[in-house]
Homo-oligomer: 330 residues x 4
């Protein structure tokens, strides 16, 4: 295994999970900015005493698989190089998540390796488990899309969403390392704010999957993320105007049925999930209700670095390798 | 001046603001639980060296005015007693906020002094300034209603709200002192969660004022509060389906017009407000936009203990006393 | 296995660690205050779906071992009852930590079961591993003593401590659940303070072990704890006036030698440890240096709920049961 | 008034305090990095709608006074330029704090304007009030020195310090804006750590003043700063081995006497101060005790941006201008 881009928060966690995984071996972890530093020195909370190296794609022939944790745009060429050598790849960037390259272009610019779009599978196991099993390139979903799609999937699949507002709240690690003044402790402690209100790049990803689930075009969607003074964690509060009148019992039955047997999705009947209770786990916890006015309230909580990034990457990799989907995520 | 209930967070701040007010004199501050303790010892951040006493309503004849910061239910009899002696009163509880006693009964139980409802004025100066000037009993609004009503008033008055979702986020001080395990540092740090999803008592208050503004019945309203790991601060994110198509320019003009000349309401054109930037101030900052799907996004931020409680109480008191509305709020 | 007192923070973590332990079976978890509630509902971050029960000591004959997480004073009778039935016990309270019952009486009051003092072993494996292996009652050390004694042991054993100041910093979970106003989020966020400056109960425990290590009476010790706005974590900053002149190289050699081969003690040569890097682990990380004035600076960091309580309890239990000392702590 | 360097945390607060000061007028505020931005846009918590400009020293002739908030090294030439034009200056950097240029050189490098050392007064009003009144250049003390010197001054002046350990704890704003990864929210939340253990630049400043107070060379001093997950605030815990046996009563009398009549120093007899209780104020709160072993414990708490920087600068400026020392600090 190679983890490329292991100095970032998601990449470092991916390297940690591979390092401690019972059936995977971490051959190399690379970094563009921190080669020469050990992971455990850069991120003392990860006890991985491996030194980060410069990535040499051509030398990757000794490996079978890679996790790529590069920013969008930078990821595609690396993924293409690794795929050429035959490695199976889980890509944490946005580069292969959007099936329509025009939509990608609208939000991110020109895609570097469009020829790979055809083989890329959207890596949400609860939706695409079988396809992931036979995939050689998996586009790992964004953190907000993971939480939102899991929280809305049963409603979307039942054609129940007339329109939906997603008020999303994220911990700061969702924004990555560094970030200067905007992400400094002084700027964020005792603070909270909306951001990206003019349009956030995770919106088309959510729309794509809600459309796929409902078998038609996506329902009207308003998505507004907020930054909270929390390290890891994400909570989506979804407000759905239903396509027809429903009650809590009916919608809860939909969730119970869809997520029966899912290891990492837990439906709570009694109360909404908090952020903290899924921290450092691959869980998504969901609660759904119908308010007095008939609106559906659906809340979902994940750890953005686990189920929203590195944990889900391991889950996908396990599936691609034909081993137990939950290995190394205990 | 008497501040009754000055051991709680809002009451203590009210006592502090009166203590440092250039034209008010704090004669006594009372507490049911902490009589005998100085305010500055109970709340070291408030430098008010006055000892809390047991409230003796009958001895209040030496005062002209009182702020009552008791829980709902307990407030009404005290307010009634003080009014009988002729004091003007700002009541921070919910007891006189709802003009329809049946609505009060649905959410809080039987009202103790319904005979005072007729004279109580809802204490949001930006809506009821003239009435407050001549009032002898002001019902200080709840923190969520203050932020929500100010954030939605221009739209409600223009009849533009077809339906509205309010996703509210509050710091912990909104829940008051103590609170045991649920409000402990260990339970809340690095955590966030929805609560009161089955219905929150601030909802009918919001509905009452939106109806009054629009001159008809209140638009369908979903109100969901969330608890954040923050001390003081409140942010409401309001998602409005407009009654007719509007653009950002039109709605911003509505806000500019309504809030021109208001000292404590600032409309930001460029960005949504953060929680922190209004902390320890009586300000409400608002930003409004229209998203690609035509939905109106309106964000409002206040300090829940200032504009959401004690600061607004001083503002009301200044108006009732005929002095400069902004005195002591600098 | 029984975990008695599993509703508190340390007890709940102990129950969680036993529940997921490969060789232990959690038969029952008890609580005096929360019987009838499942652990995962009381503490959603612990995924243990077992219902808490009232403790029935007499029915404990089906078990071999118990962890008791009761407050001091309340623990001794329960421990005595379980020992009578033949269970081996790790006691998290202070009741059997102090070998001299007079010292116990000075700090805590009369000890309920002094007859057990003779068989109790102080449960710091890095000091008493062999004795713990054959013990049937282990007194699990306090969190501050664990961090402090590990951080000072090599110096004490070498007779190098002429006098020592321990400035200790703890997260809030060290103070247990609840705690009312004093431990509320509002009281503690953005705050820090010394406490117990007139004498803290962990002081005699530290003195006892420093004396045992140095083979004479304890060196003069000043111990001052501070509360920080952090959930889990503990850092001790120890300032040692050495008995004779030393340099950094010499003292580092002492630490390297003593802790060689220890799984849970890591000596850092380059930098002091932070609190966060050992969180949710059984590690103690230590750094030692000598300043320009010749004073020895020794810093140690642990997770107060792991190495400072429940993690160390499992480590002790593993030793007592003759299984791999590190099982279930990975 | 000019505030030079008003984009940093201390400079921005200084600009805010001048802006709202009843007798000062903020003519210009400059920034090397953010000219063209309004202070209230860069730091929304400061409601100062003035645009930052490039500093033009030569054009400063229209002003009488300046506060310079530049990094050390960069400050001296600016201060020299302003002094040449005749402005009185409060300099927040370290450039003129150390009376011995060789000591400065050891810790900071070559001093740019050594000719000004002779006229610079160390700006701790509680020590040098009379000199500050007639000074034209005041070197505003560092935050740690302010807290430490105030907390130790009565002991130093009485010759009571045989040796002293200062365990200092600071909020993050003490480290200034930005700071990249090291000062990011993700790195610091739920974390705490010692830093600068090999020697911190505030140490010689503390030593210089303790020596001056005791009239001899400075007592042996160990100074170790720690970073806490707090925005503003500083707490020093000082452990003094006394030169002779003392008791709590005697040392408290020393503090009471020295600080009688001081507006901004409060001595607490009953309990140590917390960080939060002096936040957003110019106060230093101190508590002193003697432990069972005879060591003196002295704790001091300030807001590092107020009494530790900008607040003290205003206090100094008021003195230099011959107006009420406490104006604008209310």
């Amino acid at each position: 295994m190679i983890v490329a881009g292991a100095s970032g928060l998601a990449g470092a966690l991916a390297a940690d999970l591979v390092w401690h995984h019972p059936k995977l071996e971490l051959a190399r972890a690379s970094s563009r900015s921190d080669a020469g530093t050990r992971i455990c020195d850069l991120h003392p909370r990860h006890r991985v005493p491996m030194e980060l190296t410069e990535l040499d794609v051509d030398a990757a022939t000794d490996c079978d698989a890679a996790i790529v944790a590069y920013p969008h745009g930078a990821a595609a060429p690396v993924v293409a190089g690794l795929r050429e050598l035959g490695l199976i790849v889980v890509d944490l960037s946005a580069d292969f998540r959007l099936r329509d390259p025009n939509v990608y272009a609208d939000w991110y610019g020109e895609l570097a390796a469009p020829e790979l779009l055809g083989e890329a599978v959207y890596g949400l196991p609860e939706l695409y488990r079988d396809k992931i099993r036979s995939a050689e390139l998996v586009a790992n979903p964004g953190c907000y899309p993971t939480a939102t799609i899991l929280t809305l999937a049963p409603l979307a699949a039942a054609g129940l969403i007339a329109d939906v507002v997603v008020d999303a709240k994220s911990g700061v690690s969702g924004a990555g390392r560094g970030g200067g003044d905007r992400l400094s402790f002084v700027s964020l402690t005792e603070n909270a704010m909306p951001y990206g209100t003019a349009g956030h790049r995770h919106e088309p990803e959510i729309a794509q999957e809600l459309a796929a689930l409902s078998g038609s075009s996506a329902p009207p969607l308003t998505f507004v993320p907020h930054l909270l003074p929390i390290d890891q964690g994400e909570l989506v509060s979804c407000y759905v105007r239903p396509a027809r009148e429903v009650d809590a019992e009916e919608v809860r039955a939909l969730y119970a049925e869809r997520y029966a047997g899912e290891e990492w999705v837990e439906v709570l009947d009694e109360r909404p999930p908090s952020m903290r209770e899924v921290r450092e786990s691959n869980l998504c916890r969901i609660h759904v209700d119908v308010d007095r006015g008939g609106r559906i309230l659906a809340f979902g909580s994940i750890d953005n670095l686990w189920k929203g990034a590195a944990g889900q990457a391991i889950q996908n990799l396990n599936l691609m390798l034909g081993i137990d989907e939950n290995l190394g995520l205990g």
